[in-house]
């Protein structure tokens, strides 16, 4: 049997995976009865429903033809995720200015068109702007400098 619609096959697989995770991690919760539902009742129903839908989508993907997902380069995905992670890791102890600058510098690598000098200026500019707007202007309690 061949997979004729890779997009749908993977979507179905995703639903089944989440449903299975829901069942597995929810296995300890009291289900209760329809009259007195425990904390496990709704998650159980949802997980089973999700697996059922996933199975239908998978079966359908074997029968109907469809296109495969577009292949893009992994660079934007990986770089943007890194940039956001960097912000999350830095902001608490390195402060907003450093976190913003690093996020811009790293994030800029996601596009092949970025130029080094331009990116450096943008990093400084964005950091100053964010500090002025969010910390001085709006008074949000975010540390500016490294602790």
């Amino acid at each position: 049997m061949a997979i004729r619609n890779l997009k749908d096959f993977l979507s179905g697989a995703m639903f089944i995976t989440f449903g299975a995770l829901g069942l597995w991690f929810g296995r300890g919760y009291t289900v209760g009865t329809t009259f007195q539902m425990g904390p496990g009742y709704f998650p159980l129903v949802l997980s089973i429903g999700l697996i059922a839908i996933g199975l239908i989508v998978v079966v359908r993907s074997l029968a109907q033809t469809g296109d495969a997902p577009e292949r893009g380069s992994l660079r934007p995905l990986a770089v943007v995720l890194c940039a956001v992670t960097a912000f999350g890791l830095l902001v608490e102890f390195a402060g907003l200015i450093a976190a913003v600058a690093v996020t811009v510098l790293v994030g800029g690598l996601a596009s092949l068109e970025s130029r080094r000098l331009e990116l450096a200026i943008l990093a400084v500019g964005t950091a100053v702007f964010c500090a002025a707007l969010f910390v001085y202007g709006l008074g949000l309690p975010i540390p500016l400098w490294p602790r």
Binding site: G12, L50, A110, E113
Partner: protein, 499 residues
């Protein structure tokens, strides 16, 4: 007469100098961000949410709804000038708007979009003022079974109205409901699916989810495509509509408004569907349908009016029933919760100045959009000329700060990374993220009302059809489901979305 009284209360609350200022600021910021290609209203509101934290509830809500309309209008500007929709509800505007711009009629296209939106905004605001209290009074008769049926109806219509595969939309809703289960169970206090992470005991935040699914994953998708934006080199001049043009656009505006107002109230509807439906309607009604796609002014006027009307009336279910009808309203609900307001009929009674102030500010916001946007068009064109490589790193930063400042939690920023990955997968696999978001928000209340209704009836589900209001709602839901299953209607639906 009561409507006038109420609106009077509203205007006196919203017409203070500072509230006007926040409305103006919201509209300007919203347009500014909305003009950026690939940043839709949802991402805009989520990103700009922290700006409103320090404000009182009314100005905060006024500013947020200003941001909403602004971002939508900004999206239309981008659609007309660059043929690149800033957000999904202006996809339709691209078709004829860009053609008009290429024929040197960018000015009239922008003007008719603004005027159409304004007329639609006036009528939709009036609709909220008239029908809001009626619906709120009616909702006093609702209890758990009715609320459950209503939310079920909402989720079903979100499936029916979603683009693409119905079955995958059902899957996305279930996935959203399941993600909504993460956190502490209200009835029993049991902590579910947190994997022992204390930060998750309040559940996944809405802002990380919204920015992950819509904001950041869309930036990534944009970056994968080679940049090819052709901004019209001709300057935009002659913003005035000729009388003939206005005369042919006005009926289209009114039809679009009517359609958008009705579709906006429906759960899962809102701006996007309204715009699509209005365009299809105009094409059907036109004497010469072949003009469409080649710069027909009705093709700009109707969808613009419809998406503005729809985006306003979608406030009705939120403000009267406390049920968000689409992802943006879910975000507005989140913003209200942050301000300590649980939206619903009780707000209208207990704090009339809040409800009516918001309604009045919607009209003021629309007026401001009309007044400021046409003269400022040069600024927006300038913003459009900024290369994307300079914009997207800043947008990433704003997304990060938006998430972080919500709870000053670095964990939520890292959570956003995971959710972005999920959003990217959905994008690649053609799974619509909007139903997921709606399921996520409705998950908690849906479960709570189901459990309460079952306690009521001692576990007998007949309660949902025994109670007349609930039965009627469920009948509508069944009808909707039937419509999707019937092959003839299904084909019609597919055709509507292809157009």
């Amino acid at each position: 007469m009561e409507v006038l009284n109420n609106l009077g209360t509203g205007f006196s609350a919203a017409l203070t100098l500072s509230d006007l200022g926040f409305c103006l600021l919201g509209v300007l910021l919203g347009t500014l961000v909305g003009v950026l290609p690939g940043v839709g209203p949802l991402a805009t509101i989520a990103m700009l949410l922290p700006i409103t934290f320090g404000l009182d509830p009314l100005p905060a809500l006024i500013m947020l709804s200003g941001i909403y309309y602004g971002s939508q209008y900004g999206g239309s500007t981008t659609a007309i000038l660059v043929n690149m929709p800033g957000e999904s509800s202006s996809v339709v505007t691209c078709i004829d708007g860009y053609q008009m711009a290429r024929q040197g009629r960018a000015g009239p296209a922008l003007a008719v979009a603004a005027i159409g939106s304004f007329i639609a905004g006036c009528i939709a605001t009036l609709a909220i003022a008239v029908f809001g209290p009626v619906l709120a009074a009616f909702s006093q008769r609702f209890s758990a079974p009715e609320y459950f049926s209503l939310m079920l109806f909402g989720l079903i219509s979100a499936v029916v109205l979603a683009r693409g595969s119905v079955i995958k939309a059902v899957g996305m809703i279930l996935l959203g409901l399941l993600l909504g289960q993460i956190g502490t169970d209200i009835s029993s206090g049991v902590v579910r699916y947190t994997m022992g992470v204390p930060e998750l005991s309040d559940g996944i935040g809405f802002v990380p989810l919204a920015l992950g699914l819509f904001g950041l994953s869309e930036i990534i998708a944009n970056l994968e495509k080679p940049a090819r934006r052709s901004i019209l080199s001709t300057s935009v001049s002659g913003l005035w509509l000729r009388w003939v043009e206005f005369k042919s656009a006005l009926p289209a505006i009114l039809r679009g408004t009517a359609l958008g107002s009705v579709l906006g109230i429906l759960p899962g509807g809102g701006a996007v569907l309204s715009a699509f439906a209005a365009y299809t309607l105009e094409k059907k009604l036109a004497k010469d349908p072949s003009r469409f796609g080649r710069g027909a002014i009705e093709g700009v006027a109707a969808p613009e009016a419809a998406n503005n009307a729809g985006s306003q009336t979608s406030f009705i279910p939120l403000l009267t029933l406390g049920i968000p009808s689409n992802a943006i309203m879910a975000l507005m609900m989140g913003a209200m919760m942050i301000q300590g307001i649980a939206p619903g009929a009780r707000v209208m009674e207990a704090r009339p100045e809040l409800f009516w102030g918001l309604v009045a500010s919607m009209w003021i916001g629309n007026l401001l959009l009309l007044i400021i946007n046409l003269p400022l068009i040069g600024v927006w064109v300038w913003v459009l000329r900024i290369p994307y490589r300079l914009l997207f790193p800043a947008v990433i930063v704003f997304c990060c700060i938006g998430v972080y400042s919500l709870n000053n939690s670095a964990f939520e920023v890292l959570l956003t990374v995971m959710l972005t990955l999920l959003g990217y997968a959905c994008l690649k696999l053609d799974c619509e993220p909007a139903p997921l978001l709606l399921g996520f928000v409705l998950g908690g209340p849906l479960e709570e009302n189901l459990r309460r209704a079952m306690l009521f009836s001692k576990g007998d589900p007949i309660i949902f059809v025994e109670r007349p209001i609930s039965a009627v709602i469920l009948a509508f839901a069944a009808l909707l489901l039937l419509m999707v299953i019937l092959p003839a209607v299904r084909r019609g639906r597919e055709r509507a979305f292809v157009e």
